[in-house]
Symmetry: C2
Subunit: 151 residues, 2 copies
């Protein structure tokens, strides 16, 4: 009943770095997500909408996979977004079973405002840092972005 991973093949310093990066990411997002309440929609709806706005139209199955939820869950999330007129559903000409989910202008506007609210306070804090540290953060973000495609 225990994780049967080889525990020894990861150097200690890598594990500690991972732990600190993980922990700081949690604490950062814990602070930033407070302002999401102002959006007026729930976290799952907001996150699904962000995928549609930043990655374009998706089918239900694609959106479910991107958000790591099962299709029935995404079905209800999309129903909520639709009720709020934040997305529009159209039919896929090539496949009558599938739906094409697209953010409406209202949805794009809501999402952009939510993103600005989130990033704004972080940006303010960052602007108080020395130039060197800002550059360091930019490089680190790039590395983390690359890592998150591997893990």
């Amino acid at each position: 009943m225990q994780a049967h991973t080889k525990p020894v093949n990861i150097p200690k310093h890598a594990f500690e770095a991972a732990d600190r990066v993980h922990s700081s990411a949690i604490h950062l997002l814990r602070g930033l997500r407070i302002r999401d309440r102002e959006s007026g929609i729930g976290p799952a709806q907001l996150s699904a909408l962000s995928v549609l706005v930043f990655a374009g139209s998706k089918s239900l199955a694609e959106l479910a996979q991107a958000e790591q939820v099962k299709p029935p869950t995404m079905s209800r999330i999309v129903a909520g977004l639709r009720r709020a007129s934040l997305v529009r559903l159209t039919s896929n000409k090539a496949d009558g079973r599938a739906i094409v989910i697209t953010a409406t202008a209202k949805g794009v506007r809501l999402m952009q405002q939510a993103r600005v609210r989130r990033v704004e306070s972080l940006a303010r804090a960052i602007s108080a840092l020395p130039e060197l540290e800002v550059g360091l953060l930019g490089k680190a973000a790039e590395i983390i972005e690359k890592l998150s495609r591997t893990v």
Copy 2:
């Protein structure tokens, strides 16, 4: 009724750095949280337990504040943790209304395993990076940790 912040006093480069840091943190945690399902408890319970394990015993109100939820919500989360024997409730000698919530040995074990599962794949990815980048990540984590106390 609107946020009366001056929108212009944040330099563009700070906003862009914030955006990249924010985005990379989201993508990182989106990948890591998949393995939390193996813990057998829900995300809110897992997160509350991590506070108890890493910051020690807390009252219900303190735990609710740390997790940014209202007391009734935390009351139910703690009830779930208690049903699973992951926390123990004792009375506060100094204040008969308050409860002291403490992780049990089983709770500590579950939490540590969950943390290892999360961090392990990230650590593996990090161990493949050049030494220089690992160091850079460590410094960035420190800066982000500091920032998340300000934002």
